[in-house]
Symmetry: C2
Subunit: 395 residues, 2 copies
DNA sequence: GCCACTTTTTTGCCCAGCGCAACGAAGTGC
DNA sequence: GCACTTCGTTGCGCTGGGCAAAAAAGTGGC
């Protein structure tokens, strides 16, 4: 309750957050970064080290010639890990992450019967247990994060409505907790990724950011003042059906010109396929063609980037975040697309602070796993002293 | 630092906030509302009463027949007040508000020389001192809030750029503080009003709200999770230049179809004037005509409401707040306009929880004064124990 | 009028957690 | 070996919350 000290959350969270962002770092530096007293930093570091979240490292001391040298501390990545399950249309992506959000093991599990959610989740859980046993048996799992597209009730841990699988009111948390014995948290894909970008990605230390995701669904997530913004009905960031797209395209929602109907992976792949640019309607093929140097493919992806930029510009104007992170195939793989978005945003938006405020996503092929694990990591970094060493994975 | 107890801010703020919202209320009820223990409520109430922010009232006890009766406490409106100066294009609006945000005295001061900001502010300050001496000499002023359209640096208390007066980098806080001896806070019009609606208006206890202001400028303000969202460059809520308006209309910004260029008071009054509905291009005349029953005037205002509704729908989808409060002449004065907005939003937005989530502004003719005073009241309710009884008004 | 009973409010005590300041630690340069 | 500098730790006091016991302020029965 001392003013201006910790911002939101506990002091321990502030300390751990500073350590995460500023690599191996001396305690006095942490004190400066967080505004805490050196004494408080020492005590919190001790508590965090006791939980195995922090270690002293024998730093490559860049000695300053005078005074007692630093004893840098860093996030302990060798003892704990976090599991993640991302539930998509055709498969689950499983991942084990360390506390720096790095994927240490991954596995893609196709759904046997997509309609049978119990079977899908049970299989995912079992494979996860095996993944852990095979790859990182020495690491203690702290929890499991689940990310999915669509509407999620985070409090209840229920997947209210999955965007493409058609699941309804699936009690994901309880099902997976029973099967793994781990604490389980569930959140929407977009919010999880936004938080991941803030914790581990290029968006680094920015206090506010917007994450714009373009895949088969289009969704945005807003983070302001330290926390993800959910909105009344957990529906914040609904940009899918804004009329920013091609007015000639009908959307299943009944209106025309919806952003999602125009620029989703599926829609754009079809557009490219029909234009004869690729041999089958696959967005990955389009990306490969463009990366290989096909000018028509590149042009198509740049076109998409320009439309995506309209949404980014809108978000800049309305939310005015420090940065907008864009997860979209073209922007990630082709510099031309990223430039196109930046140029378009700079030209359209009044509030975009600088072109460099538009960033491509940082997680490459591992996005889905990182998203899922980050659901749990978010909670750990928000209140690190609250972790309960769980029962061993696998019950 | 005890989990889940006070939400954001101090316990005293939670207590005072609960008292503000729930009228005269028993301490036990406050405990239930805030999640604090009865003991903590007692202590905080004592502290707040000591500062003169709270009183015990000899309540009209609705006695429940058994047990010790309540001793209701309420916000003390008879000892302190807050001053406000709203700086507009042609005049300053001065107001003295009590702690419930009610305007107790008001005065409109036309600018003698709009270009001479020092003179304008000095005159406003002097008239404010006189207003206090004449009307409420017994009340102790706690501070002065300044609201203005345009770009405001709240930290520095500087009006970076006024929307219509053309002022630049005016150190409003220092000028007025020197002249009045009061603590001065400066904020943008839109944010101040949003906060006022949340504190004193119909938006009551909603945690998140968006305020959409349509006057000669068009602006939105976003409040989430307890605090106004400023954005990186204090530019959050920039809806003025979204392409939601009439594509035939050119905007000074260089593009076409901007919302502000289409629906601002000035623009719409001209439209009505040119259509022959009113005798001179005045939005007030248009409102009067509509209220008097002129169907053409009403139709024009309903048209405007529909366009405004597009912005409201957009804000619902992107921010997903509990409510959107609309400050616009038609919506405030004509039920038809409010209904038009509700219908349009319900039809367009996917995230609007219910038509009743669109509310007209609550402050009638006093909006400007309330906005200005609320800049200061906001700070008081955010950290009530922090008030310093200032030097007597007038130095 | 007095007592049992109920509910509100206060008081006393304990405990977490931070800041302050003094102290111990670990180096360099002379 | 000693002065000096900076880093990290420890002891102490303060703030402010919770818990539990006590006090307060009524009603209704006798």
């Amino acid at each position: 309750m001392n003013p201006g000290v910790t911002g939101r959350g506990t002091a321990a969270a502030a300390v751990l957050g500073a350590v995460l962002r500023h690599g191996p770092v001396a305690r006095t530096t942490i004190a400066r970064l967080t505004g805490l007293s050196p004494a408080a930093v020492t005590r919190n570091c001790a508590a965090l080290a006791g939980l195995g979240l922090l270690t002293e490292v024998a730093g490559p001391l860049p000695y300053r010639g005078v005074g007692r040298p630093h004893t840098p501390v860093d996030v302990e990545t060798g003892r704990h890990l976090v599991a993640g399950i991302h539930v998509a249309h055709e498969h689950c992506t499983l991942a084990l992450l360390d506390l720096r959000g790095r994927v240490r093991a991954r596995l893609k599990v196709p759904h046997r019967d997509p309609d049978d959610h119990e079977e899908v989740l049970a299989t995912a859980a079992d494979r996860l247990v095996r993944l852990h046993a095979e790859h990182l048996p020495g690491h203690v799992p702290l929890g499991l994060g689940v990310a999915a597209g669509g509407w999620v009730d985070t409090e209840a841990g229920v997947l209210v409505e999955h965007a493409s699988l058609g699941w309804r009111d699936v009690p994901v948390r309880d099902l997976l907790a029973a099967r793994t014995g781990l604490p389980v948290l569930v959140d929407s894909h977009a919010r999880a990724l936004a938080r991941a970008e803030q914790l581990f990605g290029a968006a680094g230390h920015h206090e506010s950011l917007v994450h714009l995701f373009v895949g088969n669904v289009v969704d945005a997530a807003i983070i302001t003042g330290g926390g993800a913004h959910r909105g009344t009905r957990s529906a914040a960031g609904g940009v899918a059906h804004l009329a920013l797209g091609d007015p000639a395209i009908e959307c299943p929602c009944g209106r025309n010109g919806c952003l999602e109907a125009t620029v989703s992976d599926r829609a754009w792949a079809w557009r490219a396929y029909e234009a004869g640019v690729i041999a089958r309607p696959s967005i990955a093929d389009l990306g490969d063609a463009a990366v290989a140097g096909d000018p028509a493919a590149t042009a198509l992806l740049v076109d998409r980037a320009r439309i995506v930029a309209r949404a980014a510009a809108l978000l800049f104007d309305i939310v005015n975040p420090d940065v907008v992170v864009v997860t979209e195939l073209g922007v990630i793989r082709l510099p031309e697309c990223a430039d196109a978005v930046r140029a378009e945003v700079a030209a359209t938006s009044r509030a975009c602070p600088s072109p460099s405020a538009v960033l491509p996503s940082s997680f490459g092929r591992d996005v889905l796993g990182v998203a899922a694990g980050s659901v749990q990591l978010d909670a750990i970094y928000a209140d690190p002293l609250d972790i309960r060493n769980p029962i061993r994975l696998g019950v």
